[in-house]
Structure formats: C-alpha cells, structure tokens
Symmetry: D2
Subunit: 134 residues, 4 copies
C-alpha cells in the first residue's frame, strides 16, 4: 500500500461546502501516479515513449464528506495487473484514519498514436514486472 | 429517458487529447439536474429550502474516448427512487448514437445544516412524487 | 460582438456558493471559440493542421458574483488581430444585461510541434483575413 | 516572499499537452492561502467566522508553458493591504528559477451573509495587522 497527502485546493470545493465528488478521481490518479513513481516508473516518461493508460472503469463510494482545511491522505493498492490492464483500490482517509471514500480504477495500456491496446509484457516490461510485487 | 446536449469546454480535455475521465461526472450531474428541471423540480430551489443531494456512489465504464469538437449527448434515466435516495443511469452518446460511456450515480437527500438524512416523502414531497413516473 | 449562453455546471461553483473565479476563463474561451466558429473557423481543425493558440495574457475584473441557476451570457469582441496574436474582450452578463465580469485575453499563434510562433498571414490566412472584419 | 511547491495533477493539463491556463489561478490561490497560514492566519477559520475574500481582479502573463512532470513553485508577495482589500503578486517558477508566469490578484474582505464589505481593521484585525509586515 502506498500513501500520499492530498493538497486540497479551494477550487476542489463546491457550493455544498465540501470537496466536489468528481475531484476524488483526480486524487486517485495522483495516488496511483505517485505509487508507480515509488516503484521507479515515471508515467510521463511512458507517455513520451508513446504509450498511455486511459481509464476503463471507475467506481467510488462516498462515506463522509471532505472539507477544505482537513488533512487528507490517499492510500493506493494495486489489486490486479495483467498484460493489458491494471486495477487499483483507493482509500481517502483523514488524520485519524477514518475512511472518507473508497474507490477503484481500472486503466488499460494503449498506444498513444491510435488508442489501440499495447501489451505491457512487450511494450512496457518495467510495468509488467510489477506483477511480482502485488 | 431525458436527453441533453453537453457543451464541451477546452478545459474538459487533458493531455491525452480527449475529455478527462473525471469530468464525465459533471456531465452526468448536468444531465440529472436538467432531467429534474424537466419534471418541474429546480435543484437550486431545493438547496435554498435547506436540502441537498450529495453523491453516495458513482460508477462509470469508458467505452470510447470523447474528443473536443464532437457532438455529445447525455441520456439520463431514473432507475430507483426511495424515501432517502435516487439512482440514475447515464449514457454519453454521440450523434450516431454510439455509446461513449455508461455510468450510474446514487444521490441521497440530506439537510444542508448538518448533512443528516432528510426523508423525501416528508421534506421534498414533490421529488418523492416522481416515484410514480419511473 | 458575438454572444453565447453559458451552461453553468455544479462543478463551476465553490464553497462561497458562487462560480469559482478561475472558471470564468473557461467561459471566455468558449465564447471566443464559438465566435471564431461563427466566422467559419473551427479551432479544433486549426489544431489538427498543426497550429495552436496558447494564451499569452488574461485579465478579469469581477463586478458581481454569479450563482448557479442564473442565466449567463458571454459577449465576445475581437479588439486586435495582428500576424501573431489576437486580443479579445469578454463580458459576462445576466438576462437583465447587468455586467458580472469584464475580461480580456490575448492568444498567440504557434506551431503545435515546438510552440514557436506561426505567422497567421502565412499559416492561417483564413484567420488573418478576419482583420478586415474588426 | 513566500514560496510553495505546486503538486501538479493530470487534470491540470489540457490537450495542448501543458497546464491549462485557468488553473494557474488555483495555484495562485493556494500560494496566498499558505502564505497567510505562515503568518498564523487560517483562511478557513476566517470563513467560519463569517467573512470571505472573494476575488476582485486577476491578471496573468504566460511566459513559458508548464508540462506535467515539471517541478513548479509558486512565489507569493503581498503588494498592498488596505482596510478592504489585499493585493498579491504571484510568480510560477521552475527548479532553475525560470519564471513561467507572472500574475497578480486583488481580493476584498466581505461578510459571508450578504457579500457586503467587511472592514478588516474592525472585523479581521489579525489580517489587518499584516500591514506592518509588508
């Protein structure tokens, strides 16, 4: 499990006075990008090499609202990694460890040029090698 | 089923050159707000009366990416309406009727003052009355 | 002067209960994109041809806040058009014609490949021809 | 001068492959919120006390684009502080100290209840006291 602090911005809030629900997916994305970075994989370098990881599926359950000024962490776990996709579980928690939201995301590996599937064992072996770590 | 056109903005795109995945939830929200409006229910009036509909759960499957310049519609259907929650199904489609993404959202009715549950049969009878329409 | 209606989204609001100030620039951008479209110029086609119009400078004065539920229009005027840049003036107004905000934007024409200046009289003559219309 | 690191998010990018211009204002806002915090002033506490600082005017000049993956800092300086407004200057710089963008913002102090002016010497003396520090 990988954990980062999320720096909330005023623009994350909505007129309910809490963080807007769609923005949680930006936090999840930051969580998984930094998790990959902690494994030595720079997502922006992957894009420069001509591959991308578009999102195939997301889900989120909102348990408690998040207010600006709260200290929030995003915990990320890889739950599945195959030749063509990676699935993540995300928890947003506060300082007391209370879970604010639970989400999951599945991303797929594609060629940047035409969005067709790029098999990671061939195109991105450094990412595919993570299968041994989960 | 209720259908609206989504006016894409440049800010909806990301560096994959397509609409950023989290923004689909803004479109879904616009779709359900306008659907309620078509039933004579103004969500902003509900907020003024002291109630809100925070999101409890969302899901989205991304089938085809959406590029700026495409004509996109959001189709909304109410799939469930109880005293405390409403569930919606959302389809984003293009002019040819191709489905770009399928999502669902569950919102709950709460008091604005303290985020506690507000039973719609008592607090928002005009919304609860929609049960007969679905 | 070109005028469009802005479809406000819930995500445009912040916890002050009004439209977040940075989002006005998305509205301005939509205003100028649609103005160009009304002149027969499709900005997304310009990008496909290998040119872009990054923003060089923006300014906005906020006169009255904008609440969700209000009907808002964006009025756009081209104030200057040279071989390398276009300047716009933007007004956000409500149904009564009250001015909510006044802004201006200067965009420059560049090559997509390396962000170097692209002279419009040579690269984008259809845009440069607009000088006769302002 | 106060300096913070900006954590860029994927959602900050647009299809030019760089950070979307309107998002700079979120960074500026984060910069000034954290600067006030460094002076012992918690903006979210100010809102809880019934006051707000809506934006009255912004300006930004974009010198060089910002790509995801770059390390970016926001430098904030208070340039003016009167009884009713505060003006800030913002610089976004990279690790080499290159200035990417220069902006300024003027915020005004108002009552949350009705957006009318709140004189800081009376309502927010701890903020007004900063005049001696600039």
């Amino acid at each position: 499990m990988h954990k980062i602090n999320i720096e909330l911005r005023y623009s994350d809030s909505d007129q309910m006075g809490v963080v807007y629900h769609a923005n949680y997916f930006s936090f999840f994305e930051l969580g998984r990008t930094k998790m990959l970075k902690s494994f030595g994989i720079d997502y922006y370098e992957i894009e420069k090499k001509g591959y991308m990881f578009p999102v195939r599926e997301v889900h989120c359950t909102y348990l408690k609202s998040i207010a600006l000024g709260e200290t929030i962490y995003c915990e990320t776990t890889i739950t599945e990694l195959s030749k063509v996709k990676i699935s993540f579980e995300h928890h947003l928690v506060n300082e007391q460890g209370e879970i604010k939201a639970k989400g999951h995301t599945t991303i797929i590996s594609v060629k940047k040029s035409d969005f067709t599937i790029a098999k990671m064992d061939q195109c991105l072996p450094e990412v595919y090698a993570l299968t041994s770590k989960i």
